[in-house]
């Protein structure tokens, strides 16, 4: 028996999905997250699912421990060591105020106080040459001071360490010998990209969360080992890959934004299996909707992100799966503002008290309440009937808070709520597609999360996306994606040069160096050479531009010094993204990037067992679609009873345990051989 399991700790729920690759049996469970004792929660979740820990061969874990440490500011007391003259660079940041008219704007609050920030006498030039040699006596004296401080973590980031890491490395040695018990992070061990403020911030984040995350990871290993676990434990990262626990202890900053990632990995895999290399993942849950675009089977990445929001958050420069998130989930509240316009979110009723219809004291109408009033959700079969919903209470709330203030009927108000929510969500999907130069008509949408299937066809129709796919296990899709992720590490090295003056031998050496680093890390993670895979990117721009675009470059372009092919690739990408290109302009390279991947054995996606053989048509009810005037007597299907190849033409509703899929009149659904619902939209 070979058991695989993924456990995804989210803000509200901990999801587990596992399966036996010999019998094909799927295990799953869902339980409330226990923020104070995360590891116990995991063990409980495993017990609940019926999986036996000692039989596990693979355990993939996604956790909010890192992000919560930052958001709640519960990280280590952290010291920061910088070059002479640079003590305040971290506090000063970029000096900007993204909310231009806000007199009460808030700049990011540093994670290191000024009195724990120390300067070292040394200085490098942008060429890597040493201007002022490292003063080791002063460095030693400074580190002694750090040793005596109450800091338990130390971040080191020197000016131009991206090109020459020798001073930083030397400080690292001193630091690790003088205060071996303190957690330390050196910027060049995380990234070698120019831009001191963002690099300092990334290094500080790493140090700040380091002690807590490593304790957590080692605890988890110990607890699992105590129960006989002898398989491989992997931790989910923000870039869509996984890493070993050892790596997670060294660069915990790589897991900060891992929360929403798993679902998009799974979307890429499901798409691929059904013949769609290009898909848009659409995840609608209780509080937000998130979306990401998958091109050629790979979720798109963003290089740089602000933890806690752009306006006052902390920059983190490692790649993250590029998602746009908006406050439109099932629990998002609909409200009428002071001038009578109807708005949705960003406030959410959350899980407690939740929508009005849950009957747990919620008083504000939500998207879920609107769906119930429109007949799209079933009052009696929500969560398989475990939780009856109160449709009259929901209706009364919508009348009181929306309809009466806008002089429309209850149904009109509920329709307006869903349509405005759909519009907001389609703006987010536009953001990852149209606004980045992709035509949504070339994509299929993969809809998941508890509320994904309710609105997917409407969002897709807005953007002329022809096909919507509702995968198996849409409620645990994020955890499922973790089971499928490969190991991935991303490396960057600034190499700033006109493309025409590029020393390709040097460029090749940089690539080889980064690849070698990746190879060593993968080897330490027990990846066999045959499973290793490396991808090279060059960040390129027109000379004089500031923003560069990462351009995937095959090894032969670099090895062969083919600057023409590189330039052509860049021009194509620029054209797609910004609608024009100027081939007569010269180009410059800014950064070299390498993604080092360790392919994991591809699990055959579990096909849910078809339970119940009866008639899949389980009932009919009146449902409102486009207009108030015409409610439709709509057939209701039970997903568990749908056999592969089964066809349905909308209007129709397909219900399953934690998800409902709505087909509008004319939409056509067919159940794939592997169980997914593939919906072709009526044009």
């Amino acid at each position: 028996m070979a058991l695989h399991v993924a456990v995804d700790i989210g803000g509200t729920f901990t999801d587990l999905i596992g399966y036996d690759d010999e019998t094909g049996h799927v295990f799953s469970s869902k339980s409330s997250s226990t923020p104070t004792e995360l590891t116990k929660g995991i063990v409980r979740c495993l017990e609940k699912s019926g999986m036996v820990i000692r039989n596990l061969v693979n355990f993939v874990h996604g956790s909010t421990v890192a992000i919560n440490t930052v958001i709640e500011r519960k990280g280590a007391s952290t010291a920061l060591i910088v070059s002479k003259g640079m003590r305040d660079v971290y506090k000063i940041g970029r000096g900007n105020r993204p909310e231009a008219y806000d007199l009460a704007f808030k700049r990011p609050v540093p994670l290191v106080p000024r009195h724990l920030t120390f300067e070292i006498e040394e200085r490098l030039l942008a060429s890597g040459e040493v201007l002022v040699a490292l003063n080791t006596d002063q460095a030693r004296a400074t580190i002694e001071k750090v040793a005596q401080s109450d800091a338990t973590a130390v971040a080191v980031c020197l000016i131009h360490s991206w090109v020459n890491a020798s001073h930083e490395a030397e400080l690292g040695k001193l630091l690790r010998s003088i205060c071996p018990d303190k957690y330390s992070s050196l910027s060049h061990e995380i990234l070698r990209e120019y831009g001191e403020y963002e690099r300092i911030s990334t290094t500080v984040l790493n140090a700040y969360i380091g002690p807590r995350v490593s304790t957590y990871v080692t605890d988890l290993e110990r607890v699992l080992a105590a129960d006989g676990f002898a398989g491989s434990l992997l931790i989910m990262q923000s870039n869509g890959g996984v890493m070993s626990p050892e790596t997670a202890c060294v660069i915990p900053v790589a897991m900060l934004e891992s929360g929403p990632v798993g679902g998009f990995i799974a979307a890429a895999r499901v798409g691929k299996r059904l013949g769609y290399e290009n898909v848009i993942g659409f995840d609608m849950g209780g509080t937000t909707a998130k979306t990401n675009l998958v091109k050629d089977g790979i979720p798109q990445l963003a290089h740089g992100y602000h933890i806690g929001g752009y306006a006052s958050g902390h920059p983190m420069m490692l790649p993250v799966v590029d998602t746009i998130e908006i406050g439109a989930g099932g629990g998002s509240i609909a409200w009428v503002d002071e001038v009578g316009s109807l708005r949705i979110g960003p406030q959410s009723a959350g899980a407690e008290p939740g929508p009005i219809c849950y009957g747990r004291g919620g008083t504000e109408p939500t998207i879920t309440d609107a769906n119930l009033v429109l007949g799209r959700l079933s009052a009696s079969e929500f969560l398989g009937g475990e939780m009856p919903l109160d449709v009259e209470k929901a209706r009364a709330g919508i009348v009181e808070k929306v309809a009466s203030k806008t002089a429309v009927s209850d149904i009109e108000a509920a329709l307006a709520i869903t349509k405005i929510a759909v519009m907001n969500m389609s703006l987010a999907v536009r953001g990852v597609s149209v606004e980045r130069g992709y035509d949504p008509r070339d994509f299929a949408m993969i809809a998941f999360g508890g509320a994904g299937g309710l609105h997917a066809v409407e969002v897709a129709r807005e953007l002329h996306i022809p096909t919507v796919i509702v995968p198996n296990y849409p409620g645990q899709f994020s955890a499922l994606g973790m089971l499928m992720a490969d190991i991935q590490h991303d490396y960057v090295q600034t190499y700033y040069r006109p493309l025409a003056a590029t020393d390709f031998a040097a460029l090749q050496r940089i690539c080889d160096g980064l690849i070698e680093e990746g190879r060593l890390r993968l080897a330490r993670e027990n990846v066999v050479p045959e499973a290793m895979y490396f991808q090279r990117f060059l960040d390129i721009r027109y000379t004089g531009q500031e923003f560069s675009i990462p351009v995937p470059v095959p090894a032969e372009y670099i090895d062969g010094g083919d600057s023409q092919a590189i330039g052509e690739t860049f021009n194509e990408v620029h054209e797609r993204r910004y609608g024009y290109h100027t081939p007569e302009h010269t180009l410059e390279i800014v950064n070299v990037r390498v993604s080092a991947m360790g392919k994991r054995k591809q699990l055959e996606l579990p096909v849910p067992e078809q339970s119940g053989s009866g008639n899949p048509l389980v009932g009919r009810r009146m449902v409102y679609f486009e207009t108030v005037a015409e409610p439709v007597e709509c057939p209701i299907f039970s997903r568990e009873r749908l056999a592969s190849g089964y066809r349905i033409t909308g209007p129709a509703i397909v219900q399953e345990y934690a998800c409902t899929t709505v087909l509008f009149p004319g939409d056509m659904l067919v159940v794939a051989d592997t169980g997914e619902l593939v919906i072709t939209l009526k044009v």
Partner: protein, 583 residues
């Protein structure tokens, strides 16, 4: 939704769609720009303006004093060409101060957008080009006495007619600017972003029809106006006044500029009267702008809402022809925006008594501390301009300390240049970028700290180290808070032992000279003797203030080693300081 009727949902769709278009224009321009004034300083705006000159939408973020100032340019263009005078594919370029009223670097590009063959609106982008010819590049035409010294003037010129470029105009432009690849690259970005907006607007009209869209726009304007009125309505009626001074240049016999404002609140109407401000000057600080008033109004009414024509309908701005902010062509305007942050701050000061819980003490009051060095890079023989905008202190607030090292109220998402980038691109060395201890004005809530950025030029060249206008007039305190430390510029040549305070433009220096750009700290809010002693201790621990300042300004005695507060001694000291004030 039905195509011929405006309903709740369609209104929301259009309300969201219009700002989405201008924000997408902004994204394209910024990401593809060749010029740090655009990609870093965000010295541009993108708008949709209808054929009557009404603002349908403008991008958020970036430089705020461009808010709602595109309408006059379009009205002028419509008068010039007439409603039948535009064809699809036209691109118009203009920077003429007769109407645009800003420095010539701010080049406006717009294109017509048609609905059923009729002109409906224009996507418009105003962006700061790095060079427009004239006496100097960058910000260095600060002593131009007329527009011809400042650069070329383009008065509503069609650069493209029906999609075809006018090669002659293009060549004249190219030959009269110092960095043609940068400015013409930006021109291409501007055109690409306008074209994108045309497509987006057409999609909107195709889907909803002209009547529904115009009806929605009218309602959006009305609702925006209502939102603003609701805020002003809550303020006590009355006339509120404040004034401040701003340095005048040698051309004006060093007479300071008077900024005298009167704000009249009458129900939900607000009038901002700027007629008491100085008349037009010989120095190029003139403009034709309402920005000071509209930025202040925006900050206090709806800071987070998208901007449209309704945003300022309930505001009346009084300003006469011949005022330095409504100067007659050909008054010089090279430094047109310089006083605006102080104008905004002065209006806010006038309103402090009616909005005591919102108005902070004075902030740096200028457009940051610009670090500008011009030279030739020996590595490639090409000219370069090093530029960074350094932030300063903001005033203490009714609820807490002012933010440190942040750009002014007229600059939103404007970022300084990273040190590593400056050194990678240009032959300069940044010795330090630091907060200035004790620069924040003492107060119950302290002013934010100013900063000092020390840069060494590694090749010979020219520094701009000029007083931005507030060196003699530090950011003011409020409610017994004290002023912040003023700004300054220092210079030390390689053979000199000490730094000297300077006020110079395009000042030639040899290699390895050292310049320090020093920005002001914010003013304090409330009496410093009322400051929580624990906060004073933290400030000393963090070295935001010195132990002397803790004692002399805040009346707090600390043990010099342990920083333990001497509570009795402090209470006594505070009593003494209070008494000393009365005598």
């Amino acid at each position: 939704m039905a195509k011929d009727k405006l309903d709740l949902v369609t209104l929301e769709v259009i309300r969201n769609a219009l700002p989405a278009i201008t924000n997408e224009m902004s994204h394209v321009l910024q990401r593809t720009s060749y010029n740090m004034m655009i990609y870093e300083v965000r010295d541009y705006c993108c708008g949709l303006v209808d054929s009557s000159g009404y603002l349908l939408s403008q991008n958020m973020g970036g430089v705020s004093h461009f808010v709602s100032d595109l309408g006059v340019v379009i009205k002028d263009g419509m008068e010039r060409y007439g409603s039948k005078g535009f064809k699809p594919g036209d691109v118009i370029i203009t920077n003429h101060q007769r109407v645009a009223g800003q420095h010539l670097n701010n080049v406006v590009i717009y294109t017509p957008c048609f609905v059923q063959g009729e002109i409906f609106a224009f996507p418009v982008i105003r962006a700061h080009w790095v060079d427009v010819g004239g006496m100097s590049t960058g910000f260095s035409a600060g002593n131009a006495v007329d527009p011809w010294m400042e650069g070329f003037q383009l008065d509503q010129i069609k650069l493209y007619e029906a999609g075809r470029i006018d090669e002659k105009v293009w060549r004249i432009l190219k030959d009269n600017i110092r960095f043609p690849e940068s400015s013409l690259g930006d021109l291409q970005s501007q055109v690409a972003a306008c074209r994108l907006a045309e497509r987006r607007l057409e999609e909107l009209f195709d889907r909803y029809g002209r009547d529904v869209v115009t009806d929605a726009i009218r309602q959006i304007f009305d609702q925006t106006e209502t939102r603003c009125r609701a805020v002003v309505e809550k303020m006590a009626d009355g006339t509120y006044e404040a004034e401040s001074l701003f340095a005048g240049g040698a051309l004006d016999n060093n007479e300071p500029i008077h900024i005298k404002v009167k704000v009249i609140i009458d129900g939900s109407d607000m009038t901002i009267d700027l007629t008491g401000c100085s008349l037009q000057r010989r120095a190029p600080v003139n403009a034709r702008t309402l920005a000071g008033a509209v930025v202040a109004y925006k900050c206090i009414t709806t800071p987070f809402e998208p901007v449209n024509e309704g945003s300022f309908r309930a505001l009346k701005v009084l300003i006469q022809e011949g005022n330095y902010m409504m100067a007659k062509y050909p008054a010089p305007m090279a430094s047109w925006g310089r006083t605006l942050p102080t104008v905004v701050d002065t209006i806010l000061k006038a309103l402090a008594p009616v909005m005591p819980d919102k108005v902070p003490a004075g902030h740096l009051g200028v457009l940051g501390g610009p670090a500008v060095f011009i030279g030739t890079d020996p590595r490639n023989g090409q000219g370069f301009v090093t530029q960074s905008i350094e932030g300063g202190g903001w005033g203490g607030r009714p609820w807490g300390d002012g933010e440190s090292a942040s750009v002014s109220v007229c600059q939103g998402d404007v970022r300084n240049a990273p040190i590593e980038k400056m050194e990678l691109r240009w032959p300069v060395l940044v010795m330090s970028r630091a907060l200035r201890q004790d620069s924040g004005g003492p107060g119950k809530f302290r002013g934010g700290l100013g900063m000092a950025t020390h840069i060494r030029n590694r090749v010979e060249g020219r520094w701009n180290l000029a007083d931005s206008g507030r060196r003699a007039y530090p950011p003011w305190g409020l409610w017994n808070g004290k002023p912040g430390q003023p700004s300054e510029h220092l210079l030390r040549l390689p053979n000199e032992p000490d730094f000297k305070s300077v006020d110079v433009v395009r000042h030639w220096v040899p290699a390895d000279s050292d310049a320090v750009v020093i920005t002001a700290g914010g003013g304090g809010w409330g009496d410093p003797l009322d400051r929580d002693v624990e906060r004073v201790r933290e400030d000393v621990l963090e070295e935001y203030i010195s132990a002397e300042a803790a004692r002399n300004e805040y009346g707090v005695e600390l043990d010099s080693k342990t920083l333990v507060i001497d509570r009795k001694g402090s209470a006594r000291l505070r009593d003494e300081l209070r008494k000393a004030r009365q005598t």
